[in-house]
Symmetry: C2
Subunit: 119 residues, 2 copies
């Protein structure tokens, strides 16, 4: 039972965090493959990454697929997300946590930019 | 003659800025529609937005299409980019500068995340 956890940086601006929550709702409307799709924030906003994992487990997930919603592979992606997940791996040894590449490295980013330019 | 200017936040990490420069090279390899495709940084890295516009003009652009490479519509997108472009609009009154929505609001972002999750 897979869950999807979209991890964003988090902002002091409510509207910026709301954009992430809205995006997660769009994802949830597009697929029924995941037992739940959640957002979590590295900093400055809730739910935290810890809370996001807890929620996925409560929903019955045996695997959480983490999508780092970051454009570049800075320290947040390379270290901070791993560090936030480490205690959850200990807390839930049966749970598989799979971290995907950050969205900035995803296939299709260049095409999306070119479509945005034309649109 | 259209030019494309991808505006990213900019980072103290050279590798993060390099990711943007690499992305712009990928864009340039995918289309010959634009007279030039350039990256510029709002903060912390060069070229600046001002330098980016200058370069597009030198290349012969009559229109610069600005792509804000930001995931959420924070102050950077809503104010700072506009503020950086304002003096360039005065400097080049013949130049059309068109600002597109930030990449986080682009069509296809949800699909790209779902593909990333599956990949």
């Amino acid at each position: 039972m897979q869950a999807l956890l979209v991890i964003a940086h988090g902002s002091r601006r409510v509207a910026s965090n709301q954009e992430i929550l809205d995006l997660v709702e769009i994802l949830a409307a597009k697929t029924t493959h995941y037992i739940t799709i959640q957002a979590a924030f590295l900093e400055l906003a809730n739910p935290s990454i810890s809370e996001g994992i807890d929620f996925c487990v409560k929903k019955g997930a045996t695997e959480v697929i983490v999508l780092p919603y970051f454009l570049s592979a800075g320290r947040h992606v390379s270290e901070d997300i791993d560090n936030a997940l480490a205690p959850k791996r200990e807390e839930y040894p049966q749970l598989t946590i799979t971290i995907k590449p950050h969205i900035g490295a995803a296939n299709g980013m260049a095409e999306m930019l070119l479509n945005l330019a034309k649109g």
